[in-house]
C-alpha cells in the first residue's frame, strides 16, 4: 500500500488550538509524524519586558487559560525571591488550595476531552458536568471561572471565608463520589481500556531521555512531581503523595490523572482544616533589586518554569516562561510513530497539550543553515512581510529595548 500524508491541523475538530501534525500513513499505521507548533505566537515574554511587575502579573496569568494560577504562582515566587520577601503562611495555603482546585478542574477537563477523542461522549458530558462544580467554587473564590487573579506579588488578593470553606467541602464530597466512579470506569470499562492501553508507548528510559514532565512522565514511572521534589508555597506542610504508574501508555496517563484528582481532594481538605490565620500580603518594593531567579511549580500538565531577570527598575529585564506542554512536545513524535491513525488524536490529547502557551522563539531555517534573528531583524522582516500584503506597519513606534548587562 502506498504511503499517504494527511495533515491533522492547523484547523481540525480534534485540536482545540492551532497546531499541525503531519502524519504519514501506511494503511492505517503511522510511519512518520511531524509536530508543527507556532501558529499562535503572542509575544508574551516581550510584552512582559515593557511593563511593570504588577502589570506583568496579568499577562502571565493569561499564558494559559487552564493553568493560569500555577503560572502566576511561579512568576510571583520568582519576583518575591528577587525582592527577598517571604509571603504570609495563610497566603501560601490559599495558593495551594487554588492550585489544587485548578488541578482538579484541569484533570476533569482532560478526562472529558480524552473521552471525546475516542468517541465516548457520555463520559465527556459527565466529567464536564462535574468540572462545572469546581469552576463554580473557583468563580466564587477568585471572581472568575478561569484567570482567577488571586495571586499578587507578596501574597494573595482575596481571603477564604469560613463559610466558603464549607462550600468547598460540600463540593469536594460530590466530586469525590463521582471521581470514584470514574476510577472504577477507567479501570474496568472494556471499550475504554481497549482504546487506551498499549498506545502512545513511552518507556521509562524514553521519558527521561525526552524530558517528559507531569502526568506523562509519571505514567512512565518517572517521579517528577515538583510539589514533592522542590517544595514551594505551603507544600512543605501539606502532605503530598506523587502518583506514579508503570503502564507507560495513554491508559497509564488517564489513571495517573484520575488518581491525582483524589490526591488533590485530600490535600484541599487538609489545607482547609489547617488553614493558619494571619495577613494575606507582605509588603513588596516597587523596584526589584538586580538579580535573576529561576522558579518552578507543578502545573496540572507538569513542571512549569519561569525565569525572571531584574535590573533594579520596576520592569523586568527578561522573563522566560516554559509551559509544561513545551517539554512534552518532544515525546509526542516518538509516541505517535507505529500507532494507528485512529489513535493519533488521543495520543496528542494524552499529553494534555496547550498550544498557545508554548509558542515562543522564532528560528528561521534557510539554505545556508540555521539563524536566530534578533529583535530588530525580526521587526524588519515583519514590516516587509505585511507590506507585501498591503499593510504598512513601519509607522508604528515601539519603545527601544534597553539591555542592561
Amino acid at each position: 500500500m502506498s504511503k499517504i500524508t494527511i495533515p491533522i491541523g492547523p484547523q481540525h475538530p480534534s485540536l482545540k488550538e492551532p497546531g499541525c501534525f503531519t502524519i504519514t500513513l501506511e494503511g492505517e499505521k503511522v510511519v512518520n509524524a511531524v509536530v508543527g507548533v507556532g501558529y499562535n505566537h503572542r509575544g508574551l515574554e516581550k510584552a512582559c519586558e515593557a511593563r511593570t511587575y504588577i502589570q506583568d502579573l496579568y499577562i502571565i496569568e493569561r499564558v494559559c487559560g487552564i493553568c493560569s494560577h500555577t503560572h502566576s504562582t511561579a512568576f510571583c515566587q520568582a519576583v518575591e525571591e528577587l525582592a527577598g520577601v517571604e509571603i504570609p503562611r495563610r497566603a501560601a495555603y490559599i495558593r495551594v488550595i487554588m492550585a489544587e482546585l485548578e488541578r482538579m478542574h484541569s484533570h476533569l477537563l482532560w478526562l472529558g476531552v480524552a473521552a471525546h477523542e475516542i468517541g465516548f461522549d457520555t463520559l465527556f458530558m459527565y466529567s464536564w458536568r462535574d468540572r462545572e462544580k469546581v469552576l463554580d467554587i473557583l468563580a466564587e473564590l477568585g471572581g472568575n471561572r478561569v484567570n482567577y487573579g488571586i495571586n499578587t506579588l507578596g501574597g494573595v488578593r482575596r481571603d477564604l471565608e469560613p463559610q466558603m470553606a464549607d462550600e468547598i467541602r460540600a463540593m469536594l464530597d460530590i466530586v469525590e463520589e463521582q471521581n470514584k466512579y470514574y476510577i472504577q470506569l477507567a479501570l474496568s470499562e472494556t471499550t475504554l481500556a481497549a482504546r487506551l492501553s498499549g498506545i502512545g508507548k513511552l518507556s521509562h528510559e524514553d521519558a527521561l531521555r525526552l524530558g517528559a514532565v507531569g502526568p506523562v512522565s509519571r505514567a512512565s514511572n518517572v517521579d517528577t512531581d515538583i510539589r514533592v521534589i522542590d517544595k514551594y508555597a505551603a507544600y512543605d506542610e501539606v502532605p503530598v503523595t506523587a502518583i506514579t504508574d508503570d503502564h507507560c501508555d495513554v491508559f497509564g496517563r488517564a489513571v495517573v490523572r484520575v488518581l491525582e484528582i483524589m490526591e488533590s481532594i485530600k490535600m484541599i481538605r487538609w489545607s482547609l482544616d489547617n488553614l493558619p490565620d494571619g495577613e494575606l500580603t507582605a509588603k513588596m518594593p516597587r523596584r526589584i533589586p538586580e538579580g535573576e531567579v529561576f522558579s518552578r511549580t507543578e502545573a496540572p500538565r507538569g513542571e512549569d518554569t519561569h525565569y525572571v531577570r531584574a535590573n533594579g527598575t520596576d520592569k523586568p529585564d527578561r522573563v522566560r516562561v516554559r509551559a509544561a506542554s513545551e517539554a512534552n512536545w518532544h515525546s509526542v513524535k516518538h509516541m505517535l510513530e507505529g500507532d494507528y491513525l485512529a489513535d493519533v488524536p488521543i495520543i496528542i490529547a494524552a499529553i494534555d497539550p496547550c498550544y498557545s502557551c508554548t509558542d515562543r522563539s522564532i528560528v528561521l531555517r534557510s539554505a545556508a543553515g540555521e539563524r536566530v534573528w534578533d529583535w530588530a531583524a525580526l521587526r524588519r522582516y515583519g514590516i516587509e512581510h505585511y507590506k507585501k500584503q498591503g499593510f504598512d506597519a513601519s509607522k508604528i513606534k515601539i519603545a527601544e529595548r534597553k539591555i542592561i548587562r
Binding site: 499517504i4 494527511i6 492505517e28 465516548f120 461522549d121 458536568r129 475504554l192 494507528y340 491513525l341 485512529a342
Partner: protein, 311 residues
C-alpha cells in the same frame, strides 16, 4: 396505478418515512442527551437542521466527478425508501410481498453503505478517502453476521419473505425465544450499518473530521443526512419485523404496535451508543469475525437442528 404512486410518495413511502425519520432522529438525540445528563434538542431540531442544510450553498470539489457526486446521495435515499416499501407496517404483510423480499431488503440496505464509500472515494480528499476505505472494511465485517442473524429466523420459518415468517411465528410464538442470540447479533451489527458509536469509524469526527462526508455540503449533504435518518427507521423496522412479529387485528392497532416496537429498538440502539467508546478499525473487524459471526453461525446451526427435530 394511482394507489401505487400514493404508496411510494406519501404513505408509507417518502413523505411518511421522512417525517418519521425526523421524529426518530429527535427521539434518538433526546434519549442520547438524557442518558448523558444533558437537556437535548427541541422537537423541531432535526427538521430545522434539515431545512437549514437545504438552504446552504452546495460546494462540489473541483476534482470530483460532478455527476457521480450529485447522484450518490439521491441513490442512497432512493434505496432506503424503496426498502421501506417491503417492510410490513400495520399488518402482517407488507404492501408488495413476494417470496424472497427479505433478501431484496438486505440488498437494498447495503446500497447506502456502498454510496457512502463511493461518496468518500469520489470526493478526492484524504480524509474522505480514508473514511471510504474504512466504510468498506466495516461493510465486510458487519454485513456477514447481520445477514446470518436475519436469515436464521427465516430458516426456521422456512420462508424467505417477511410475511411468511410472520405467519409462521404467529402460530409458533415461543420459537421467537430461540432467536434471541440472533437478535443481539443483529442489534450490535446494525450499529455498524448505521455508522453509530462504537462503529462510527467512517465518520469519526475527531480523527477524520467527518470522514466520507467531509466534502459534502448544502443540499447534497442534507439528502445524505436524510438517507441516514431514514436508514435508522428502516433498520429498526426490519429488526422489529423479523424478531418481534406481533400484529394485532386492525390497521390502527397494528400501526400503534409498530411505532411501539420500533421505539423499543431505538431505545436499545441509543443505549448502546451512549455507553461505549469508538473502537479502532482492526478491533471492529476482529470483534465482528471473532464473536458476532460465530454467534450468528451457532444460531443458524441451532435453528437447522431444531427444524430437523420438528420435522
Amino acid at each position: 396505478m394511482l394507489l401505487a404512486l400514493f404508496h411510494i410518495l406519501i404513505f408509507p413511502g417518502m413523505l411518511f418515512l421522512g417525517a418519521y425519520a425526523l421524529v426518530f432522529s429527535f427521539i434518538d438525540r433526546k434519549l442520547y442527551a438524557r442518558l448523558q445528563n444533558r437537556r437535548g434538542p427541541r422537537w423541531y431540531q432535526p427538521l430545522a437542521d434539515f431545512l437549514k442544510l437545504l438552504g446552504k450553498e452546495t460546494i462540489i470539489p473541483e476534482h470530483a466527478d460532478k455527476r457521480v457526486f450529485v447522484f450518490l446521495p439521491v441513490m442512497a435515499l432512493a434505496a432506503v425508501t424503496a426498502a421501506y416499501l417491503y417492510i410490513p407496517i400495520w399488518s402482517s404483510t407488507s404492501l408488495y410481498p413476494f417470496e424472497g423480499d427479505l433478501i431484496v431488503l438486505l440488498y437494498l440496505l447495503t446500497l447506502p453503505t456502498l454510496c457512502f464509500f463511493l461518496a468518500g472515494w469520489y470526493s478526492t480528499s484524504v480524509y474522505a478517502t480514508i473514511g471510504a476505505v474504512r466504510a468498506l472494511t466495516q461493510l465486510f465485517s458487519y454485513e456477514v453476521p447481520l445477514f446470518m442473524a436475519l436469515l436464521a429466523p427465516a430458516l426456521l420459518a422456512d420462508s424467505w419473505s417477511l410475511s411468511g415468517m410472520t405467519a409462521y411465528y404467529s402460530t409458533h410464538p415461543l420459537y421467537l425465544l430461540i432467536n434471541i442470540p440472533a437478535f443481539l447479533v443483529a442489534v450490535i451489527a446494525c450499529q455498524g450499518k448505521l455508522e453509530r458509536v462504537p462503529f462510527d469509524l467512517p465518520e469519526a469526527e475527531t480523527e477524520l473530521a467527518g470522514g466520507t462526508f467531509v466534502e459534502y455540503s448544502g443540499r447534497l449533504y442534507a439528502i445524505f443526512r436524510m438517507a441516514i435518518d431514514c436508514e435508522l427507521v428502516v433498520v429498526a423496522s426490519l429488526i422489529s419485523a423479523v424478531f418481534l412479529p406481533f400484529y394485532p387485528a386492525g390497521a390502527w392497532a397494528g400501526f400503534g404496535v409498530y411505532i411501539l416496537k420500533t421505539l423499543v429498538i431505538l431505545f436499545i440502539l441509543a443505549l448502546l451508543r451512549s455507553i461505549m467508546a469508538r473502537v479502532r478499525i482492526e478491533q471492529m473487524v476482529a470483534f465482528c469475525w471473532k464473536y458476532l459471526t460465530p454467534l450468528a453461525l451457532i444460531q443458524i446451526i441451532a435453528n437447522l437442528l431444531l427444524k430437523g427435530v420438528l420435522a
